[in-house]
């Protein structure tokens, strides 16, 4: 059973220089209960993908897709209103900064109950009970007290838990977590990720984890999509990507993180890609990684296609890296 099935999803924004494509023919699938990671630098379109799935794009954006289905329902065939309702019942999203995603003027309880009401529980008493259950489910102690408090009275980690409580209020089949822990401390970060994974297991809820932190990704996800300037560069099982990334960009991302045990007095330097991600309206010709790629050659002026590599996954590169035996050449 497919939870999410996207074929050739593109998002365009009109600008005074003409339309700009911020997502370019993205295709991906998620099974029920799967944990999918999406990695990439800022500006690679990770968040745009999440917003497109949720139908939260700005009104001037235009979305095109050959096929976009959530929970076996083709979203492109629904009207705007129907689509909103269907997505709200089947998917939720949590964002990076919990403090800014909540309304500072209302208590936690009121905001939580508002969400619960939208999902069909009318009686205030029942709403409150449900709110308490939800706070309990996300591991908040003294839920009775918390319901009366305002967002600024809770810590960042607590607020993120409340956000998660709101997100799971409708028992969604898909939860998109857009950098859920970037604004939090490491000790809190591990608690939040554990909570998300726990919910994923206990409720069979698909989890799309968007992050730029490869280490975080490595231990929680089953598959990883590496994105770069609006395109999927590599899509493969997490283990294969970590052990043997086939796209030079994935390799570079992995190598630019310090490895455990690599210490300063050994005089090592990290591998780093030259330059930065190109502006979306000034894309290079052909492969978008081209000017920064260590392996770039003449053919790279032709745009590469996302192609299948056996026993690995999909890779968008003219010269995919060879399978190596063990992490040779991982650092310069």
């Amino acid at each position: 059973m497919k939870l999410l099935h996207i074929e050739n999803l593109s998002v365009e924004f009109p600008t005074h220089k003409g339309p700009v494509t911020v997502l370019d023919k993205v295709s991906l699938r998620m099974e029920r209960g799967e944990v999918l990671g999406i990695v990439g630098e800022s500006g690679s379109g990770k968040s745009m993908l999440a917003l497109a799935i949720m139908g939260l794009l700005a009104p001037n954006a235009s979305l095109k897709a050959d096929y976009l289905s959530l929970n076996n329902q083709d979203l492109m065939k629904l009207t705007e209103e129907q689509r909103k309702l269907f997505v709200a019942q089947n998917a939720s999203i949590i964002f990076q900064e919990p403090q800014t995603s909540m309304n500072p003027c209302f208590t936690i309880g009121r905001q939580l109950m508002e969400t619960i009401e939208l999902h069909g529980i009318r009686r205030p008493k029942k709403q409150k009970q449900r709110a308490r259950e939800l706070l309990d489910a996300v591991g908040i102690n003294e839920p009775e007290l918390r319901l009366k408090q305002y967002p600024h009275q809770l810590s960042g980690g607590m607020n993120q838990r409340v956000m998660i409580a709101m997100a799971i209020a409708a028992e969604p089949k898909l939860l998109i977590a857009d950098e859920p822990t970037t604004a939090l401390d490491v000790t809190i970060q591990s608690q939040i990720i554990e909570l998300l994974l726990e919910l994923n297991r206990s409720r069979e809820m698909g989890l799309m984890l968007i992050t730029h932190d490869f280490a975080l990704m490595s231990e929680s996800t089953q598959r990883v999509c590496v994105m770069y300037s609006g395109q999927i560069m590599e899509n493969a099982p997490t283990e294969s990507i970590l052990e043997n990334p086939r796209h030079p960009y994935s390799r570079a991302l992995l190598d630019s993180i310090p490895h455990i045990g690599e210490r300063h007095h050994m005089g090592q330097r990290l591998y780093s890609l030259k330059g930065t991600i190109p502006a979306i309206d000034h894309l290079p010709v052909g492969c978008r990684l081209g000017p920064r790629c260590p392996k770039a050659a003449k053919e790279c002026v032709k745009p590469p296609r996302l192609e299948k590599i056996d026993q690995h996954g999909l890779v968008r590169c003219h010269f995919p890296l060879e399978k190596e035996n063990q992490s040779e050449g991982s650092s310069q």
Binding site: V186, S190, S218, S272, T276
Partner: protein, 321 residues
């Protein structure tokens, strides 16, 4: 020139705070922190938010004065000096901030921004200043003509390079970098990290590197100081901290970081909520309420910092295993 560029002795910072006419309270932002930094070495300061890392940074660059304690710059106690001499001493310590964009003046050309510290602190002629700016830009991997541009014309990584150039321009002994990488993308982080390490090798600068990213800390530092709520928890050589950490808080940090979780393999017991409440009420060890090894003594008595095999630990029950 001595080998010891910066040493800090028992530095504390208390802020007075009163809200809406309630009685004034003292907030202990920093409590008895000491460390020594040698030339060409890097001291990393780690801890969660609110642990006083940035307060420490502010004190080190002279933005603020400590309530008690001494700062020695090249073995000279700065608070014994006159105000103007103090300024001269603090000139040897420069700072790089977390968010490069907000730390650069958006209305000023890069050249002007870089020239300013020279105007204030030196008697160089305009021509010499311009030369120094060009030199500094080249050193951080930018081009001369960038001097006439504005900050918004650069990417985040380039802006951070400019901030580093500004710190370098007075030839400091120490650069205090407060989370210099956290606003940048991973591939750019690696570039800046490499630049910092190259500069250190070339110019023998010392860094006080404030970060919450333990991977980066392990990579760049010689010594590590772990802080929690303004107190020193553990301080020692990088090998000691990462391979033989003794403080439960350090262990907790290490095992919360995804890349270390499997390598360190520390066990934690669940904390009794009753004990947690008790620990929050009493003023013993600041970490007691979150510590899974805490015992009665921890909530009654403040632990002293002790020396254990070349490394300092503030704990009643330092871990041995």
């Amino acid at each position: 020139m001595t080998d010891l560029v910066l040493s800090v002795e028992n530095i504390s910072k208390t802020y007075k705070y009163s809200s809406l006419g309630f009685r004034q309270q003292n907030i202990f932002a920093l409590d008895n922190i000491s460390f020594k930094l040698r030339r060409g070495q890097t001291l990393a300061i780690v801890g969660e938010s609110g642990s006083g890392k940035s307060t420490l940074a502010r004190l080190l660059v002279g933005c603020d004065n400590p309530t008690t304690g001494k700062i020695f710059i090249e073995e000279q106690d700065v608070f014994e000096l006159s105000k103007s001499d103090q300024k001269k001493q603090f000139k040897k310590i420069r700072m790089v901030f977390q968010n490069p964009y907000s730390s650069l003046n958006p209305h000023a050309r890069i050249g002007t921004t870089l020239e300013e510290p020279l105007k204030i602190n030196t008697n160089l002629s305009s021509h010499d200043r311009k030369l120094a700016v060009k030199h500094a830009l080249k050193r951080v991997g930018l081009r001369e003509e960038h001097a006439s541009r504005f900050p918004h014309m650069f990417s985040g990584g380039q802006q951070q390079r400019i901030a580093i150039a500004r710190a370098l321009i007075l030839n400091p002994d120490v650069i205090v970098a407060d989370e210099p990488l956290s606003a940048l993308d991973v591939s750019v982080q690696a570039q800046i990290l490499n630049l910092l390490m190259d500069l250190q090798e070339e110019l023998k600068i010392s860094y006080v590197f404030i970060s919450h990213d333990l991977g980066v800390v392990e990579h760049i530092s010689d010594q590590v100081l772990v802080m929690y709520r303004g107190k020193l928890m553990e301080y020692g050589e990088v090998d000691q901290i990462f391979d033989h950490s003794k403080h439960p808080y350090t262990r907790k940090l290490l095992s919360s970081t995804p890349s270390y979780r499997h390598t360190v393999n520390y066990k934690f017991k669940k904390i009794d909520p009753e004990f947690k409440k008790l620990a929050n009420l009493k003023s013993g060890c600041v970490f007691a309420s979150r510590c899974s090894y805490a015992e009665e003594k921890c909530i009654d008595e403040v632990p002293k910092t002790r020396f254990l095999k070349g490394h300092r630990v503030t704990c009643h029950w330092p871990r041995e295993d």
